[in-house]
């Protein structure tokens, strides 16, 4: 299993750069991955989504789908795509230190 040093912490990642252990994640790692994904600064709206994903994954064991995120946070699809442009499904999960979302909606 490859490791990668992100924001000064060594974490385990898979081939696509997703953390394989959500417990290795912290908020500095999230900010560093976000920067890699082209998001210069994580605003409170970003954090609302990230925190929701973390909570959802803790209870269900998997990353939530985009529809689960919009339903769960009250944010619109447009807002979600504006906050995490060009592929929010993967970006959100990666920044939140989770695997790819399971489920098609």
């Amino acid at each position: 299993m490859p490791t990668k040093t992100i924001a000064g912490t060594t974490v385990h990642v898979n081939d696509e750069g997703f953390l394989t252990d959500p417990n290795e994640w912290n908020r500095d790692i999230a900010a560093a991955i976000a920067l890699e994904e082209g998001i210069a600064e994580l605003t409170p709206a970003h954090w609302k989504i990230i925190d929701f994903c973390r909570q959802s994954a803790t209870s269900t064991g998997k990353a939530p789908t985009l529809r689960a995120i919009t339903n769960g946070t009250g944010l619109s699809t447009k807002e979600l795509f504006a906050l995490f442009p060009k592929g929010p499904a993967k970006k959100v999960a990666r920044i939140a230190g989770l695997g790819k979302p399971e489920g098609c909606v």
Binding site: K4, G38, K78, F81, V105
Partner: protein
């Protein structure tokens, strides 16, 4: 934290986002039954979630999917549908729905209600809502000019978010380099 073994250590490198041309998928929806509306919606939504550009071209019966008077009334008929078995209703085995029963009044409505109920339980949104999600996510929807003319429709007949009525030639221009899926 594991530090032993032959794992690789990589440094963060900025992704080459700007230089790559994004992948583009175009769907042609030619069918207006409930079951044939979903493939493009599901795959299109997955594509948007993965950062892939999406264009959907609705032609012939597929126009029903974006027709605001029809979108909530798409149906699936049990007649001549050899895959629709009684097992969907909990009857074990491969027992089909007898075709002579399938033609009875109400059977199409029954099959449609059954499918919608199964979708709802899986938290799959209805077609109208799914279309809106796709539009909000940046998908571009177009209606086929020839079909629109044939069926006597105008832009006023379509749900919000449909960008225009275009010719087959326009479609070819706007999908240059795209992967095309015909449904």
């Amino acid at each position: 934290m594991q530090t032993n073994g032959a794992h690789t250590q990589t440094e963060i490198a900025p992704k080459k986002v700007a230089e790559e041309k994004p992948r583009h998928i175009a769907f042609i929806c030619s069918k207006g039954t409930l079951d044939m509306a979903y493939p493009a919606l599901v795959m299109g939504w997955a594509a948007l979630g993965n950062g892939i550009d999406v264009t959907i071209f609705f032609t012939f019966w597929g126009l029903d999917i974006i027709n605001k008077h029809r979108v909530d009334h798409l149906e699936i008929a049990p007649v001549a549908n050899t895959s629709m078995k009684m097992s969907m209703m909990g009857v074990p085995g491969n027992l089909g729905i007898p075709q002579l029963l399938g033609v009875l009044p109400g059977m199409t409505a029954f099959a449609t209600a059954l499918m919608k109920d199964k979708m709802r339980k899986l938290e799959v949104p209805p077609v109208r809502e799914y279309l809106q999600m796709l539009v909000d996510g940046g998908a571009k929807l177009y209606a086929c000019k020839m079909s629109v003319d044939m069926m006597g429709l105008t832009m006023n007949d379509f749900v919000e978010g449909v960008q225009g009525i275009v010719t087959a030639g326009d479609f070819m221009d706007m999908t240059e380099g795209a992967q095309i899926v015909f449904i």
